[in-house]
């Protein structure tokens, strides 16, 4: 059978859930998504209008204005890392919205690329704690997808009061340049536009790029004027030390000088035009992107915000796959998991999703057991499916709503540890791009087994109802106070004071875990890449799948700045 036997799945909304329930779910989610929108707007505003005006007064654009001008008209950006550092204060009082850098998947001249833009409305584009990690994460995504990477550089250097958190570690600022080098070594095209300050570490970020553009306001220096003054008693401006006059004409560290931001952005677009076009239309063949038959916007009313409430996972797939067509693979075994192939934007992707509610139990054919749990059959099934997609080069989308592995004597006897290990080996060694979505629950080893962030999915998305943790708060509270509870989890003691202490203690444990599970906490700590509205899920997936098929950036041709030949020249003839 060489045909992909897709069949229609899903049912109209009115056959799945009644109007009231649907509306209640949608409204509950809308409340959370209103908060998401507000928080995004806050990050997008940077440090606010005063700083925006300051940028404009210099005749420059803000980072977000640059991105808007760079992308293809009528397209949207798919941002990642929006909430890194969310709610944290540095130097005692300073916020760093988006960690002072915009990282987003963008379409430029029809080609997907990763754009990394220092936010010049936040402390002149300084690098905060986690700014390097955020940039490196974006570079990692670009590397995995071989996406051309565009740096819009405007960075005054490390935020020095907190330097110890951003400088020395394995993922400290210097690792950005290692990522620059790895991208180059893998053949991923890198472009840099330098729009202003570009000091110290900032100076390295652009110059490994294949093409470097500088505006007349831009300079790249290992140390700026202030430091040179201190160290060498020289009075000289930063522009004189490392402006375009120096770097374009003398050092060769940049290629082209341009008058201003607008021209530079046009130049970057022109560079993108020079790259090979996307292979996605080739892989689509005669198929095209077609909306799901059952509309995507219904997801918001079909996924109950309460993680204990069940739903039909097929209905979610029906609202994510083109035309609601899907080929379910191995439906007869491990029915707690659904896996199969569908098209997103006309391109094939593998989907793996947990089934909720009660599912069949092969060991006890008359009985049912809860879904959203990994049992032996399901683990073996998704491991094999994951391996097959990898072998076939099909990107994999993991849709998690998982409580964890099955536990207990039967589970151990069946060897769930070993089957889980096989799955983990598979996911750890897959070469194909994998994307993980935390629909709701992402608990314990289930989060790991289904390619949670520790297993290097290219991107991990959370929803506003995601709950990421080792276990639920209630479970941990019971485990913590185990010795004080009877078999029905009732508190044993008769002493009212002690009883109150236990009640309070359990509540505190539950509250702490509940707070930890807030998706904004995950996003702040970079434990997830982005929080999205459910209605955005399909556009995000369509974009990511299309990037997986783009196939630009596989040919390794180093740019002349990093030729080893230059080293030979210096070694044999002395410095020119």
């Amino acid at each position: 059978m060489a045909h992909v036997p897709l069949v229609p799945i899903g049912a109209p909304r009115e056959q799945i859930t009644d109007e009231t329930t649907f509306r209640e779910h949608r409204e509950a989610l809308a409340e959370r998504e209103a908060k998401l929108k507000a928080k995004r707007a806050e990050v997008h505003a940077g440090w606010g209008d005063k700083y925006k005006e300051r940028v404009h007064a210099k005749g420059k654009l803000t980072a977000r204005e640059r991105v808007d001008q760079l992308i293809d008209p009528g397209t949207r950006i798919f941002e990642v890392g929006t909430f890194v550092n969310d709610g944290e204060l540095f130097g005692g009082k300073l916020r760093s919205p988006g960690a002072g850098v915009v990282t987003a998947f963008c379409q430029v001249e029809g080609r997907w690329c990763m754009v990394i833009a220092n936010d010049n409305t936040v402390a002149s584009g300084s690098w905060w704690p986690r700014t390097p990690e955020k940039i490196e994460r974006a570079q990692e995504m670009a590397l995995r997808l071989r996406l051309p990477t565009i740096y819009l550089v405007d960075c005054s250097g490390l935020f020095l009061p907190e330097q110890s958190k951003a400088f020395p570690g394995a993922r400290g600022a210097g690792h950005i340049f290692k990522m620059n080098a790895l991208l180059s070594a893998s053949g991923v095209p890198q472009l840099a536009g330098v729009f202003g300050d570009c000091i110290a570490g900032g100076g390295y970020m652009p110059i490994i790029s294949d093409r470097v553009y500088m505006t007349e306001q831009a300079y790249m220096v290992i140390a700026g004027a202030a430091l040179v003054k201190g160290a060498k008693s020289l009075k000289i401006t930063s522009l004189d030390i490392g402006g375009p006059e120096v770097h374009v004409h003398q050092s060769g560290c940049a290629d082209v000088r341009v008058p201003d931001d607008e021209v530079l952005i046009d130049c970057l677009r022109r560079e993108m035009r020079r790259l090979p076009s996307s292979a996605a239309p080739f892989y689509r063949g005669d198929a095209g992107a077609i909306d799901p038959l059952h509309p995507t916007h219904e997801l918001a009313g079909l996924l109950p915000p309460d993680h204990r409430e069940a739903y039909d996972a097929h209905q979610l797939l029906a609202r994510l796959c083109d035309q609601s067509l899907f080929w379910e693979v191995m439906p007869e075994v491990g029915e707690e998991m659904i896996c199969g192939v569908g098209r997103v934007g006309g391109l094939y992707a593998g989907f793996i999703i947990n089934r909720q509610g009660l599912v069949g139990d092969p060991e006890h054919p008359d009985g049912k057991r809860p879904g959203a749990i990994l049992y032996r059959g399901g683990i073996a099934k998704i491991a094999e499916f994951s391996r097959s997609c990898d072998a076939d080069g099909i990107p994999i989308i993991w849709l998690q709503d998982i409580s964890g592995f099955d536990i207990g004597a039967e589970a151990e006897r069946q060897g769930l540890l070993a089957y889980g290990s096989s799955l983990i080996y598979t996911n750890s060694t897959n070469k194909v791009p994998m994307f993980t979505v935390l629909l709701r629950k992402a608990a314990g080893a289930g989060y790991y087994a289904m390619s949670g962030l520790p297993y290097d999915p290219v991107v991990q998305l959370s929803t506003t109802v995601s709950r990421l943790s080792v276990m639920e708060g209630r479970t941990l509270a019971i485990a913590t106070y185990n010795t004080k509870l009877d078999d029905d989890f009732e508190i044993v003691t008769d002493d009212p004071e002690e009883r109150q202490q236990i009640v309070d203690g359990m509540k505190a444990v539950e509250a702490r875990i509940e707070a930890d599970m807030d998706p904004y906490v995950s996003a702040r700590q970079m434990d997830t890449d982005e929080i999205i509205e459910l209605g955005e899920l399909r556009p995000y997936l369509a974009a990511l799948v299309e990037m997986s098929y783009q196939a630009i950036g596989y040919r390794r041709i180093k740019n002349p700045r990093i030729w080893s030949l230059h080293d030979l020249e210096v070694l044999t003839r002395g410095v020119r």
């Binding site: 045909h3 229609p8 005669d286 095209g288 916007h297 219904e298 035309q323 609601s324 067509l325």
Partner: protein
């Protein structure tokens, strides 16, 4: 018959599909089978239990696809695909109606190894979406009904657009259909209310509150352009058809050329329509529908991504067998005709004859046809039908009995020939709409071309 088609029909049948599944019934099934016969393809008929014994399937291969109710037979995409695969077919012709414009059916055919005879699913899908379809057509230079540039952002924009395009205006749901999610505003102070009502109804009915605005053109003439495209970017038109004579949006009489269209506007729009079809990657036969406004401008309304009931009008005028071309193109053949090869001659007119009682408010009248005799002998008269003496009209489907197509050197000559043909047509046992057609054709209003979509000439 034009030169081009005379050559085409004298050729030996080309190599293509061996077996073709007809996912339809009645008159169109017979029409498709005729093209298959000419091409040396074995047609396999889908039939519901209500059609299984019908005379039009006699001597044909038939697969029963379900009960008489069309939702369980002719509209059951999975059952039809399964029947086509199991009967060894490699292509599926959807005809018109039923699943002909269903992109899921088209995709389902393709992924199961069947060539769907029609445009690619994504093109069909694009043309099914209102504002994207219009944007694609505008890009190719077709005129649109003046209105908003896509979806309205709110009542303020609605008012601004209404002021610009002039009243009355129509607010329409992007996901709408069947008249729901539509509101008319005749003055500025009605726009905000109409917008809110349309939006609320659209949200309730389709779960999609998006609304756009168009000037409401009352009256006007319905003109459509027949397009034929191949897989390689080639596209031609086969002229236009005027389908202004309608009753409750059901076309009664179609003719070509349109007696109301100026030569310049015809030439300009035909060119733009071909360009639009090529731009969107249209494959196969399709029809772009226009409203001819009071200023004589053709304004694009929608595209039907399939063969039309009235395709015979264009066939008679051009000598081209559209179903044959559809099948050829689907099998990967480039178009055999360039635009200059398409010669449109004389005037052609078609009447749709239904089993309805015009004297009883067009009540459908299923029953048995006691005697049927279609006019024969005149090469300028064509009758497309699936009925014959003894045919029992099932109650489940539309009541079309036959189409009579007549050609003449002039419009009057074509009309006179049609009158003679309809007078010669014998259908006993069930009432038909023939008396109404005769009354229209004889009326001064019709002959003098004094009507628009709001009135039926010669009929009260």
């Amino acid at each position: 018959m034009s030169t081009a088609s005379r050559i085409a029909h004298s050729e030996a049948p080309p190599r293509l599909f061996h077996r073709l599944f007809i996912a339809n019934r009645g008159e169109v099934a017979v029409r498709i089978a005729r093209a298959c016969d000419a091409l040396g393809i074995t047609p396999v008929f889908a039939a519901s239990t209500a059609d299984r014994g019908a005379a039009y399937t006699a001597g044909r291969e038939v697969v029963c696809v379900g009960p008489g109710r069309s939702s369980a037979s002719y509209l059951d995409a999975k059952a039809l695909v399964q029947a086509a695969v199991q009967s060894g077919c490699t292509a599926v012709h959807p005809g018109w109606g039923f699943l002909a414009e269903n992109p899921v059916f088209a995709s389902l055919c393709e992924v199961h190894g069947l060539t769907f005879i029609g445009p690619p699913a994504h093109v069909m899908h694009l043309m099914g979406k209102k504002t994207p379809a219009k944007a694609a057509m505008r890009a190719a230079g077709l005129e649109l009904i003046p209105g908003s540039d896509g979806i309205l952002s709110g009542a303020d924009e609605a008012e601004a657009v209404a002021e610009r395009v002039g009243y009355p205006v129509l607010l329409k749901a992007e996901s709408g259909g069947g008249g729901r999610g539509m509101r008319i505003a005749r003055a500025r102070d009605e726009v905000a209310r109409a917008f809110a009502d349309a939006q609320a109804e659209a949200r309730a009915a389709f779960g999609d509150p998006r609304v756009y605005l168009e000037r409401l053109i009352e009256g006007g003439r319905h003109v459509e352009i027949q397009i034929l495209g191949d897989r390689y970017g080639g596209a031609i038109h086969i002229g236009e058809r005027d389908c202004t004579v309608q009753r409750n949006h059901q076309k009664l009489i179609e003719e070509s050329p349109s007696p109301a269209l100026s030569a310049d506007e015809r030439a300009r729009t035909l060119d733009a329509a071909v360009r639009a079809a090529a731009n969107i990657g249209y494959v196969g036969a399709g029809t772009m529908e226009f409203l001819l406004d009071e200023g004589g401008v053709l304004r694009f309304m929608e595209m039907n991504t399939r063969l039309q009931v009235e395709h015979c009008v264009s066939e008679m005028r051009s000598g081209i067998d559209l179903v044959r071309e559809q099948i050829m193109v689907a099998a990967g053949h480039p178009l055999r005709l360039a635009q200059p090869d398409v010669v449109l001659e004389g005037h052609t007119i078609e009447c749709r004859i239904n089993a309805e009682d015009p004297s009883a408010n067009f009540r459908p009248s299923p029953g048995t046809i006691a005697r049927w005799q279609a006019p024969t002998g005149d090469p300028d008269v064509r009758v497309d039908t699936h009925v014959q003496t003894g045919y029992e009209i099932p109650p489940h489907y539309d009541s079309l009995l036959c189409k009579v197509i007549a050609r003449g050197d002039s419009r009057d000559a074509a009309c006179d020939r049609m009158i003679a043909a309809l007078e010669a047509l014998v259908c006993e046992g069930v009432p038909t709409t023939i008396p109404m057609h005769l009354q229209i054709l004889r009326s001064e209003d019709f002959r003098e071309n004094r009507y628009d979509t709001r009135t039926i000439p010669g009929w009260p």
